[in-house]
Amino acid sequence: MMQVLALEVPYWGQSLLRVLGGIVAVLLPAGTIVYVFLFKMMSFMQSRLGPMEAGPYGSLQLVAEVGKWLQKEDIVPERADPRIFKMAPIVVLASTFLLVAVVPFGPDAWFTNFEAGVFYALAVSSLSVLGILMAGWASANKYSLLGGLRAAGQLIAYELPMVLAVIGVIIQAETMNLQQIVVAQNAGEIFGFSGLGNPYLITQLVGFVIFMIAVQAELTQAPFDMPIAESELVSGYMTEYSGFRFLMFFIGEFATAGVFALITSVLFLGGWGVPFAWFGWTDVDSVSNWMNIVGPIIMFTKMMLIVFIIMWVRFSSPRFREDQLQRFAWKVLIPVSLGNIAITSIFKVVM
């Protein structure tokens, strides 16, 4: 990318630019658009208009909300552990930011081209458990504690099916590099037909469904929102937060939804690419440069699609009970995903 601009930028400068670019170009618009999109969509589902006042058609609602939260007092409960209490939302948000670092947006538009990208993404995504547990424990509130413990139990239980679902993709793509996974999908073919590439949505449908369910649980969205459970635990681990720190949890929730949607689209929907057969490309080096511009747009569309599915499920289902949720993870998802791995490996060896 830097060669295009004909600039000599040292490596640390490149990294800095990429990180800043990541925050400005990806996370903020993703958070904002996901937020507005989500609120409008949810309002139409519930036969109401949703935000209408802030900006044209309520499009500046997030700005208004941020303004509102910034004005509020930052309250730390008297008996809370102040240092950990203040740190927790940063940890949660940090896991989101770290996650976006490995997502490729085009043939050259990536922040880091990390060989063990999938491994890194799954490892980093579970960092947020730490933040949630910290928030729940440090709040010195019984509801928060219950919420934090539920979150920890749930996130650990659903981490496993998520990893197992991704293993199917890794077996098929023969790589853990997210960029290579995208290329493998778009350059691939299904039984000799290459017009669609080989999006793993089709060949790894079981894995995709399991992954989506696990993402839903990972994001603590209904029907897996036991840790938040506003009608019984009064927002669980977020109960005691106010002002800017609450905002960080709040934005973190939507931004994480967006980032997980990005990762899902990379793993299962072919990421930034179009089927390479359309333009006669064969590998990542032969891809035209304009994909660096079009790629992010394609990614963004796919992200919205996935976010739509996540939120659709969220707004139409009641929540599970804690024990039902664990039972579902350990007795249904994990056996099915293990079976998926076995079948995928057999196909890989045979074909």
């Binding site: 519930q46 219950l146 459970a229 009608s231 019984e232 707004f315 289902s317 009641p318 929540r319």
Partner: protein
């Protein structure tokens, strides 16, 4: 074997023993103790100011007790310093979601003491408004049920369609929430023009809303997993705790004061069914309420067709003095049996009014039903028992 042991369900008894054992074991080995969780008075699950003190072992309730009185407004005492027509504006606010239904039994009790009977037309309209307030009340319950379990969409449908019913009540009485429309000897006004046709259209919408909720909530697997077999109240326990209304019918008791009592109301002029459910669990209670809403729309439809002509007020003196005596009248209100015991000493106002409200008795079963369940089940059981704080505290 003690009485309570016999009445406890197997699951609950085992859970109770297990939680006790777990508590003592934890105490010995880890020197930890159970946690007392104070749910309320300000808590979204209590829709009002109810407080539930729950002793928890992990996520399991070892013991729970509702503590009410945070919203006590002293209506029984206030009624003693009001005249009879003024009391209706007080009792309106007991069960604020179905407020017209609160007025009726009190007025009927006063009429019984005076020996007056309302004309047939006003009996009909009273019954229609009574059922409309039941629909307004229960349709909110059906929407709220989802919110208690994290499904926030049904409540918006409920508010949307309940609005039509409130508009009807407003159209007929002038008040959306607190109509204050019932008078001793009849009603304040006749129905406005066009009201009957509009009501029929709305009833059609409400039936559609019931189907929608049936699909959206009752057909949902997660909803069923959360509700079925949870908070089971067997038939004899329900009778012992004095449950009434849908909570009692859900335990398999075929009991409905609208059918079983002969009051000067028009329920016997319509053809409708009393729904019961043999299970007695949370799902049964909600399901019975859903069916009741459907029945109510049918009652309203039929009564609209047969409203007799005639006056809407019987001949009563301008200044109402109720002769000496005592009367008890109870009706099948949206929440259950609601009754007034009115003692008169021949003055302008009642000497003493005792209000039997449904929610207070329905809530008394909560400690029994909540024992041994998980924390999330507290919310669903309370939601399915369906109480209104004004009705508990009065």
């Amino acid at each position: 074997m003690s009485l309570t042991d016999r009445l406890l369900g197997d699951r609950q008894r085992l859970a109770y023993i297990a939680s006790q054992a777990a508590d003592s074991r934890l105490n010995v080995e880890l020197e930890t103790e159970g946690m007392t969780l104070n749910i309320g008075p300000q808590h979204p699950a209590t829709h009002g100011t109810l407080r539930i003190i729950a002793r928890l072992d992990g996520e399991q309730v070892v013991w729970a007790e509702p503590s009410c009185g945070y919203m006590h407004r002293g209506y029984e005492k206030l009624a003693e310093v009001r005249t009879y027509p003024q009391v209706t504006s007080l009792v309106n606010r007991i069960d604020w979601l179905g407020s017209f239904a609160n007025e009726v039994p009190f007025i009927l009790a006063a009429e019984k003491l005076m020996g007056v009977e309302a004309p047939a037309r006003s009996q009909h309209i009273r019954t229609i408004l009574f059922e409309l307030s039941r629909i307004a009340n229960v349709s909110l319950f059906l929407g709220d049920l989802g919110v208690q379990m994290g499904a926030i969409t049904p409540v918006f449908f409920a508010f949307r369609d309940r609005e039509y019913v409130l508009n009807l009540i407003e159209g007929a009485t002038g008040g959306r929430f607190h109509p204050n429309f019932d008078r001793i000897g009849g009603l304040k006004d006749d129905l406005p023009k066009g009201w009957i046709a509009e009501t029929k259209a709305v009833m059609k919408k409400l039936r559609k809303f019931c189907d929608q909720i049936d699909d959206l909530l009752f057909g949902n697997e997660i909803f069923q997993a959360r509700m079925r077999g949870i908070g089971v109240i067997p038939r004899d326990v329900a009778l012992q705790y004095g449950l009434s209304g849908a909570n009692l019918r859900a335990s398999g008791v075929d009991w409905d004061l609208r059918r079983d009592q002969s009051l000067p109301m028009a329920w016997n002029k319509a053809d409708w069914k009393v729904w019961t459910h043999p299970d007695g669990d949370s799902y049964a209670r909600c399901w019975v309420r859903l069916q009741e809403t459907r029945e109510s729309t049918k009652i309203v439809d039929q009564l609209l067709d047969t409203i007799p002509s005639g006056p809407i007020m019987a001949k009563v003196p301008k200044i109402i003095k109720v002769p000496e005596g005592e009367a008890w009248v109870s009706t099948e209100n949206p929440l259950g049996e609601m009754g007034y015991y009115v003692v008169s000493r021949g003055e302008l106002g009642p000497f003493r009014v005792k209000i039997r409200s449904a929610s207070f008795n329905n809530m008394s079963v909560a400690p029994w039903a909540l024992r041994g369940v998980y924390v999330p089940d507290i919310v669903t059981i309370l939601a399915s028992l369906y109480f209104i704080l004004g009705d508990i505290d009065r």
